[in-house]
Symmetry: C2
Subunit: 327 residues, 2 copies
């Protein structure tokens, strides 16, 4: 019989949805739940929704909330890990929200909070493509580009808990505008948002592309990972060019990260990597190898796609909670 207090719930809080999963001691997933968040809803409302999603997930796993060992949660933006506070999350419109403390009040179980990308990297490291190597950098390519660093088997928090923001390192000084208000960040050159901008610009300038048709067929108003995949499958020239450029930029970013940190492995995660797998990471690896300072590094540093897909964050939140609470 399962002992009490060994089930945990992991939460991945995104800008548009919350994902929850319940796992047992061996990190087998017992139940998953997902909920859209309303844009512009206030922090209190979102926290209540998260609490009821935890209840629902626990119930689906045959548990009451009070019987959970703990809840781990990853949230976007700058997190004060020690105090459990979301210091600033532009995607959510939050400033100084005590998410950890409030959630603990609602649920009555321990809550551990960290940055969404950090928990994604912890997930891939512990249970996915990271395979518990000592030194790992995770780069998640989605609407933005997030990053996280594992050093000596643990997340590298930095002095304020804000290390790993490689998406906002500049690789093209005075380049295109970034969501962060600066210019030339990797995110402004190689995120899905950047690819979408480049595709739309190309079409506006008169280039022919299958993308508008593909979007219409799929009822999408954004160039999602599935649209990108379908366009590449059709060898759409605009999509191929834009993807090649983004992969080149990501290759430079990976090389910068490797020349700075010399990790054993770089894991490329996020929706596009999940869909395209090695077709996405192989060209990135080729450019990165050309830009490694020490040619010997190329033989040793592995560059691989993530393997947990959409579950990386919620699973990592559980792993982190277990580490922090000594469970």
């Amino acid at each position: 019989m399962a002992r009490k207090k060994e089930i945990m719930v992991g939460i991945d809080l995104g800008g548009t949805s919350v994902k929850a999963l319940a796992v047992n001691r061996k990190n087998s997933v017992l139940a998953t739940e997902k909920k859209k968040t309303e844009a512009g809803s206030n922090a209190k409302g979102v926290i209540q929704e998260i609490a009821s999603l935890v209840e629902k997930t626990a119930k689906a796993a045959g548990m009451k909330v009070k019987a959970l060992a703990a809840v781990g949660i990853g949230a976007p933006g700058a997190i004060d890990v020690r105090r459990g506070v979301v210091v600033e999350a532009p995607n959510l419109g939050w400033k100084n929200v005590p998410l950890g403390g409030e959630l603990k009040k609602y649920l009555g179980v321990p809550v551990v909070l960290d940055n969404d990308v950090n928990v994604g990297v912890i997930g891939e490291h512990a249970l996915g493509a990271g395979e518990r190597v000592d030194g790992l950098v995770g780069i998640f390519v989605g609407t933005g580009i997030g990053g996280g660093i594992i050093s000596k088997g643990e997340i590298y928090e930095g002095s304020n808990g804000w290390a790993g923001e490689v998406g906002h390192t500049v690789i093209l000084m005075d380049g295109p505008a970034c969501s962060c208000g600066r210019r030339g960040c990797a995110e402004a050159l190689a995120s899905r948002t950047a690819m979408e901008r480049d595709v739309r610009d190309a079409i506006k300038s008169g280039r022919k592309s299958a993308i508008p048709r593909i979007m219409k067929e799929r009822g999408k108003d954004r160039i999602t990972s599935s649209v990108i995949q379908a366009a590449l499958a059709e060898k759409d020239p605009v999509m191929m060019e834009v993807m090649e450029r983004a992969q080149y930029c990501l290759g430079i970013l990976v090389a910068n990260v490797v020349n700075t940190l010399d990790p054993e492995r770089v894991v490329i995660g996020g929706g596009i990597a999940e869909r395209l797998g090695k077709d996405f990471t192989n060209p990135i690896r080729r450019t990165a190898y050309e830009y490694f300072l020490h040619p010997q590094t190329a033989k040793r540093t592995q560059i691989v796609p993530g393997s947990l897909g959409d579950n990386a964050g919620a699973l990592g939140a559980v792993v982190l909670a277990r580490q922090r609470l000594g469970l």
Copy 2:
């Protein structure tokens, strides 16, 4: 009376000279020696010269070599720290030179080898502008740009011992050619070599500048740190523009490093920083603060010039040797 085996010699091996100093247990410098190295001399010859420089330095401190506790040495290029081997040092023309082991054979005392920039950062951290903060990044601007990372009080070696090469991170994709054979590295934009290239290009294109006169007066055929200082003192417009551009690039580099690693402090070392002090680092800090992702970081992350000047490497080599050997 001084106990036996407490004096150490630190060596900083550069492309054109070797510097040695003897220190006591409190890291007070008892003697310093310096020697030019012959360009193109073979590794064996250079190692013999280093050995005799150690003897000379020990003697100047009133010791025999055999009575030294240890020798610490910093060498340029990729170092295999565990085996004490210089894997590749383009400045010296070396490949796979077992510097640590050979020197130990000549001297009969323990020898600890690491990268020259790493030992410089260790020196600034332990005895200089680093003041033993937990997390620190050192960026040394000279003929190249080197970097080293201190995390939790210790050098961050990475999985191959090659972490910290921030001078060869790309900040301007497809930008000017770098000594490493790639394009757009920080070193190709903001090292003294890059500044010299930009000054010479400006003069070639017809711009008026005091620099050729200053070089002649000082008998220099290169734009050294002292030439740069003199030209800035005269408010030479070409030098001011080139310096401003280099400082902007260094500000971007510092922001990249901070957004990646979130250290408590960044120390800018090397010849130019030594000469110009805050006049060099203040504009770098201004740009860096604009490019920090989290504005709160700006209030917390310090950006300061190095304080050990030319001694940072040799002093750091001693500190490292003491750490490694548990002395």
